[in-house]
C-alpha cells in the first residue's frame, strides 16, 4: 500500500510527461483522486497502535546501504492524508488557470506528491534524504517556469538556501551511519541507537546539523529570509504546495528524525530552539501587520504559525507534539484556502495591494463569508480547526515554561490583529473602482472552498478521530525519549 502511494503519483506524472494528453487537468485530477482513495483505504486498514504498518523493505543500493524501506505509523498517516487531500484540491483550484505546457506543470505537481509521501513514510535515513531533496526539484521548476517577476533570482536563493540546510543534514546522517555497528545501516532504528549512544557534545553537533535543515524548510526565524519572496513569486499552486505541505516536512523531520535520534542534543539545545521559534512568532506577526501585499502577509503569518508548531513540538510534551500534528493538518488546509482566496481576488481585481481593495463583502457575500470562516480558523477561534491545535500547543508551552507560553500566546492576539485588519481593508468598507463588478464565487470555486470550510469546522468541533490516529505513535515516541533521558540522569 505504501509503495502504491509513493509510486502511483510518479507513474501518473511520467504518463503526463510522455503522452501530453489533451485535457491534462482532468487526468491529473483523476490521478490525485485515485491517490486520495488509496490513502483512505490506508486509513481504514490502519489499526490504531504505535506500530509502523504497511512496511515494505527492499534493498536498493547495497553499496551505499540504502534500503527502500517505507511504512506508515500514526504520525506519518496524518501527513500522508494531508498530502493526498490537498493535492487534488490544488489541482482542482487550478482549473481556471491556463498554464503554458500544462502537462509539465501537472506532471511536476504529481512528482512532488510522490516525493512528499516518500518523505513522510521513509524508514531509511538515506531514503528520507533522497525524497527530501527530490521534493525540491519539482517545486523549483514550478516556481521558475510559471512564477512571477524576478523569479530567476528568488527561486535560486530558495534552492541554494534549502539545499545548504539539507546537505548539513546529510553530513549528520552519514556520520550517524558510520556509528552504527557492523556493516553499517541507514535503518531508522539503527540510526536511533547510534545517535543515542553518542556523547552529549557530539549529539549537540548532530542536533544542529540536522535541525538547521528542518529550520530552513519550515522556516523558523532566522532562517526564513527565502520564504516571503518565494511564496510571493511562486504561482499560486506552487505557494499552496510550499506552505500547505512542504513546510510540514520540516516539522515532521523534527518529530521523526531529530528528537528520537539525538535526545541529549535536544535536551541541551531544545530550549534555544524553542526560544528562536517563539522570537520568530512575534517577529513574523509584527511584520505581517505592516504588510501591504495580501500574499506576502499570509506568507509572514505562515512563519508565525509554523514557529508555534515547532516550539510546541520541541517542548516534548505529549500535548505539544499532538498539538503540532493536528495543527499541521489544520494549517495546511487553512493556508491553502487563504491562498486560493487571494488568487480569486487577484484574478478579478488584478491587484494584491490591500489598500486598493475594499467593499468586496458588499458585492460578493459568499466569498466574504468563506473568508471569515477561514480567517477565524487562522486566528484560532474555538470551534475551528485552528483552535484545537493552537490550544494544545500553547498549553504545552505553558507547561514547559510559563513565560514562554505567554509570549507564544501573543500569536493569537497578533494574528487577530493582522487578519482582522486584512478583512477590514479588503472585504468591508465601500466598493471602489477596483472592486466594482466583483463577481461572487463561481460553482467551481465553491467546489474547492466549501469542502475546506466544512473540514475547518468539522475538525474544530470533533478532532478526536484525528487525535486518536497519531496518539499511540506520539506517546510511544515520547516514552522512548523520556526513558532514555531518565536512564542518562
Amino acid at each position: 500500500m505504501t509503495v502504491f502511494l509513493i509510486l502511483f503519483p510518479l507513474l501518473a506524472s511520467l504518463v503526463l510527461f510522455a503522452f501530453k494528453p489533451a485535457n491534462v487537468k482532468v487526468w491529473a485530477f483523476a490521478a490525485s483522486l485515485i491517490e486520495l482513495v488509496a490513502s483512505i483505504v490506508v486509513v481504514v486498514l490502519f489499526t490504531k497502535s504505535e506500530e509502523v504498518q504497511f512496511v515494505v523493505d527492499v534493498p536498493w543500493i547495497t553499496a551505499l546501504g540504502l534500503h527502500f524501506a517505507v511504512g506508515i505509523d500514526g504520525i506519518s498517516l496524518l501527513l500522508v492524508i494531508l498530502t493526498t487531500l490537498l493535492v487534488p484540491l490544488i489541482i482542482l483550484s487550478s482549473f481556471k488557470n491556463e498554464y503554458n505546457k500544462p502537462s509539465t506543470f501537472y506532471g511536476l505537481i504529481l512528482m512532488m506528491q510522490m516525493a512528499l509521501v516518500g518523505v513522510f513514510t521513509a524508514l531509511d535515513g538515506l531514503l528520507f534524504y533522497l525524497f527530501w531533496e527530490v521534493a525540491l526539484i519539482p517545486i523549483y521548476f514550478i516556481c521558475l517556469i510559471w512564477g512571477g517577476e524576478d523569479r530567476g533570482r528568488i527561486t535560486l536563493k530558495f534552492f541554494i538556501y534549502t539545499l545548504a540546510g539539507s546537505l548539513f543534514m546529510l553530513i549528520g546522517l552519514v556520520y550517524l551511519y558510520y556509528q552504527t555497528p557492523g556493516t553499517h545501516s541507514f535503518d531508522i532504528q539503527a540510526l536511533y541507537e547510534a545517535g543515542r549512544a553518542l556523547s552529549a557534545p557530539k549529539q549537540s553537533l548532530i542536533f544542529w546539523a540536522i535541525f538547521v535543515a528542518f529550520a530552513i524548510k519550515m522556516p523558523v526565524f532566522p532562517f526564513h529570509t527565502w520564504q516571503p519572496d518565494t511564496y510571493t513569486v511562486a504561482p499560486v499552486q506552487g505557494t499552496m504546495l510550499l506552505s500547505g505541505i512542504m513546510l510540514k516536512m520540516g516539522i515532521y523531520g523534527v518529530i521523526r528524525w531529530l528528537i528520537p535520534v539525538v535526545p541529549l542534543g535536544v535536551q541541551e539545545w531544545g530550549l534555544t530552539a524553542v526560544v528562536i521559534s517563539i522570537i520568530g512568532i512575534v517577529y513574523a506577526s509584527c511584520i505581517a501587520i505592516v504588510q501591504r501585499d495580501f500574499k506576502r502577509l499570509i506568507a509572514y503569518s505562515s512563519i508565525a504559525h509554523v514557529g508555534l508548531i515547532s516550539a510546541g513540538a520541541l517542548t516534548l510534551k505529549p500535548l505539544g507534539v499532538q498539538g503540532a500534528m493536528i495543527q499541521m493538518l489544520s494549517h495546511g488546509i487553512i493556508v491553502f484556502a487563504l491562498f486560493y482566496i487571494i488568487e480569486i481576488v487577484f484574478e478579478r481585481t488584478k491587484t494584491r495591494r490591500l489598500s486598493n481593495l475594499g467593499g468586496i463583502r458588499n458585492v460578493a457575500p459568499l466569498l466574504a463569508t468563506v473568508f471569515v470562516i477561514v480567517m477565524l480558523g487562522n486566528v484560532a477561534l474555538p470551534l475551528t480547526s485552528g483552535f484545537v491545535g493552537e490550544f494544545l500547543l500553547i498549553n504545552s508551552l505553558f507547561q514547559y515554561q510559563a513565560l514562554l507560553g505567554s509570549v507564544a500566546g501573543l500569536t493569537i492576539i497578533l494574528g487577530a490583529v493582522y487578519m482582522l485588519k486584512t478583512f477590514q481593508k479588503s472585504m468591508s468598507g465601500e466598493v471602489n473602482s477596483t472592486t466594482m463588478g466583483f463577481e461572487d464565487l463561481s460553482d467551481h470555486e465553491k467546489l474547492v472552498l466549501y469542502p475546506v470550510v466544512i473540514l475547518i469546522i468539522l475538525i474544530g468541533v470533533y478532532p478526536a478521530p484525528l487525535l486518536e490516529i497519531s496518539e499511540p505513535a506520539v506517546a510511544n515516541l515520547l516514552e522512548i525519549y523520556s526513558k532514555f533521558s531518565a536512564s542518562v540522569k
Binding site: A63, V134, F159, I160, L163, L167, L170, I171, V174
Partner: protein
C-alpha cells in the same frame, strides 16, 4: 589488452584511409571497431593478465576504466560526427583521436613507470595537435601552444620524479616499487620522498588540479568545442586512473608523505575552481572551471586508504562523463559557427528545443549533485568516504563549494526556463536527438541503479 590492439589498429587504419582515399565508411568502421573493443573488454572481465614483460597489467581496475574510456569515446564520436564532416582532413583527425584513446588506455593499465610515461606522451602529443586543429583561429593555435608548453613542463616534473623513485627503489615496476617501499618503511632516502612529491606535481598538472591548472581554462576555451569535450572526459578519466594507480596503489604505504600536499591541493582546487567559475561569462570556460572543480571532489576519495575508493572514483567519473558529454553536445549544437557561447545563448532553450533543454537540465542537475541523478551518488560516496576517514572539515568545505556550484550551474537553467528565446527554433539532426535521448536514459539509469557500476572493480 585486445581492446588496445583494436584501437591502435583503428588508428593506423584511419591514417591509411587518408592515403587510400577511403573516407566514406571510415566513421562507421571506427564506431563498429570501438563497439567491438567494448565487447572485448567485457569478455576479458574478471581476468588479470600481464603483457609485454609485465609492463601492462589488465585487471578489473584497468578493464573497467578502459571500458569507460572507450564507451565515452563512442559517445564522443557520435556527438562530434559533424566536426569530422566539415573538416577537409577528417581522417588524420580521427587517427589522432584514436591514438589519444590508445594513450588513455595505457595510462589506465600500466604496470611500469616507463609505460606511464609512454601513455601520457602518446595521449598528449596527439592532443597538442588536436587542440590546434582549427588552424585559422588564433585562439586555437594559442591553446595548442600553451598546452604544449605546460604539458612538457609537467612531463619534466613527472620524469624527474620517476628517476628519483627509481634511484631509491631500483625498479620501474610499480608492484615492485610498492613492495620495496612497504618493506623498507623507515630507511628510504630523502630523495625518494622528493620523487613522490614531484610525481604528485606532475600528475596534478595532467588532472589540472589547482595550483597546476593555469593551462586548463585557456586551452579548453581555445580548442574546438568537441576537442574540449574530449579533453574534459576521456583525458580526465585516464589521468585520474593513472593518479590512482600511482598514489593509491604504488605509494599507499607512504601516504603520510603525500596526504598533506594533496589536502592543500584539494582545498585550493575546490575553492579556486568553483569561485572562479561563478565569474565566467563564456559557458565553455565555466565548464572548464567546473571540470577542475570536479577533480577536487574526486581527489577527496584519494584521502582514504580503503579499497572501496576505486569503485567510488570509477562511479564518479562515469557520472561526470555522461553529464559532461551531454552538456558539451548542447554547447556544440548551440555554437554552430560562433565560438564564444555566453549564457544568453541558452535563453529560452525550452521553447527552442525542448529535448536539448531537458538533456542540458539533467546534465546540469547531475553535475550539481542533485538526487536521484548519478552526480549526487558520486558526490555522496566521496563525502561518505571522507567522513568515514575523519575528514569532516574537508567535507564541509566541499559542501560549500557544491553550493557555489549550484549557483553557476543554475544560472544556465534559469536562462533555459525563464528568459525569452533569442532567434529561431533550433533544428538538430536525428542522430544527435537520439544521442541526447540515450544520454538522458543513461543518466537516469545509472542514477537509480548505481550498484553494478560501484561494485564493478571489487
Amino acid at each position: 589488452m585486445n581492446a588496445l590492439l583494436v584501437i591502435c589498429g583503428l588508428g593506423v587504419f584511419s591514417l591509411i584511409a587518408e592515403i587510400a582515399n577511403f573516407k566514406k565508411w571510415l566513421m562507421a568502421i571506427v564506431m563498429a571497431g570501438l563497439a567491438g573493443a567494448v565487447v572485448l573488454v567485457v569478455l576479458d572481465f574478471g581476468t588479470s593478465t600481464l603483457h609485454f614483460s609485465d609492463m601492462l597489467l589488465f585487471n578489473n581496475f584497468s578493464l573497467a576504466f578502459t571500458g569507460l574510456i572507450i564507451i565515452t569515446t563512442i559517445f564522443w564520436f557520435w556527438m562530434a560526427n559533424d566536426y569530422f564532416k566539415l573538416q577537409p582532413h577528417k581522417t588524420d583527425r580521427s587517427a589522432l583521436v584514436l591514438f589519444t584513446v590508445a594513450g588513455a588506455v595505457i595510462m589506465a593499465s600500466f604496470n611500469n613507470m616507463a609505460m606511464l610515461f609512454l601513455g601520457i606522451e602518446i595521449l598528449s602529443i596527439s592532443l597538442y595537435v588536436l587542440a590546434g586543429s582549427r588552424k585559422e583561429s588564433l585562439f586555437s593555435t594559442e591553446a595548442a601552444f600553451k598546452y604544449f608548453l605546460m604539458g612538457s613542463f609537467a612531463t619534466g616534473f613527472l620524469l624527474m620524479g620517476m628517476t628519483l623513485t627509481y634511484g631509491a627503489t631500483g625498479s620501474f615496476h610499480i608492484t615492485k616499487i610498492a613492495e620495496y617501499v612497504s618493506a623498507h618503511g623507515g630507511e628510504l632516502p630523502g630523495f625518494f620522498y622528493a620523487g613522490v612529491l614531484l610525481m604528485l606535481a606532475g600528475l596534478a598538472f595532467k588532472i589540472s588540479a589547482v595550483p597546476f591548472h593555469f593551462w586548463a581554462p585557456d586551452v579548453y576555451e581555445g580548442s574546438p568545442t568537441v576537442i574540449t569535450a574530449f579533453m574534459s572526459t576521456v583525458v580526465k578519466i585516464a589521468a585520474i586512473a593513472a593518479f590512482y594507480r600511482i598514489f593509491s596503489f604504488c605509494f599507499s604505504s607512504v601516504h603520510t608523505t603525500w596526504i598533506t600536499p594533496l589536502q592543500i591541493i584539494i582545498v585550493l582546487t575546490l575553492v579556486v575552481a568553483n569561485i572562479t567559475a561563478v565569474y565566467q561569462n563564456s559557458v565553455k570556460r565555466m565548464l572548464a572551471y567546473s571540470s577542475i572543480g570536479h577533480v577536487g571532489y574526486i581527489l577527496l576519495a584519494f584521502m582514504s586508504n580503503d579499497s572501496g575508493s576505486a569503485g567510488t572514483i570509477f562511479y564518479y567519473l562515469s557520472a561526470y562523463s555522461v553529464a559532461s558529454i551531454t552538456a558539451f553536445t548542447a554547447l556544440h549544437v548551440l555554437e554552430s559557427n560562433n565560438q564564444n557561447i555566453t549564457i544568453e545563448y541558452f535563453n529560452g532553450l525550452l521553447k527552442k528545443n525542448p529535448l536539448l533543454a531537458v538533456g542540458m537540465t539533467i546534465a546540469l542537475l547531475s553535475l550539481a549533485g542533485i538526487p536521484p541523478l548519478p552526480g549526487f551518488f558520486g558526490k555522496y560516496m566521496v563525502f561518505a568516504l571522507a567522513i568515514e576517514n575523519g575528514y569532516t572539515g574537508l567535507v564541509i568545505l566541499a559542501i560549500f563549494t557544491s553550493l557555489i556550484g549550484v549557483y553557476y550551474y543554475f544560472r544556465i537553467l534559469i536562462a533555459i526556463y525563464f528568459k525569452e528565446p533569442l532567434g529561431e527554433e533550433l533544428a538538430i539532426s536525428t542522430s544527435l536527438k537520439l544521442l541526447i535521448f540515450l544520454l538522458i536514459i543513461f543518466s537516469i539509469v545509472i542514477g537509480i541503479f548505481p550498484d553494478s557500476l560501484i561494485n564493478i572493480i571489487r
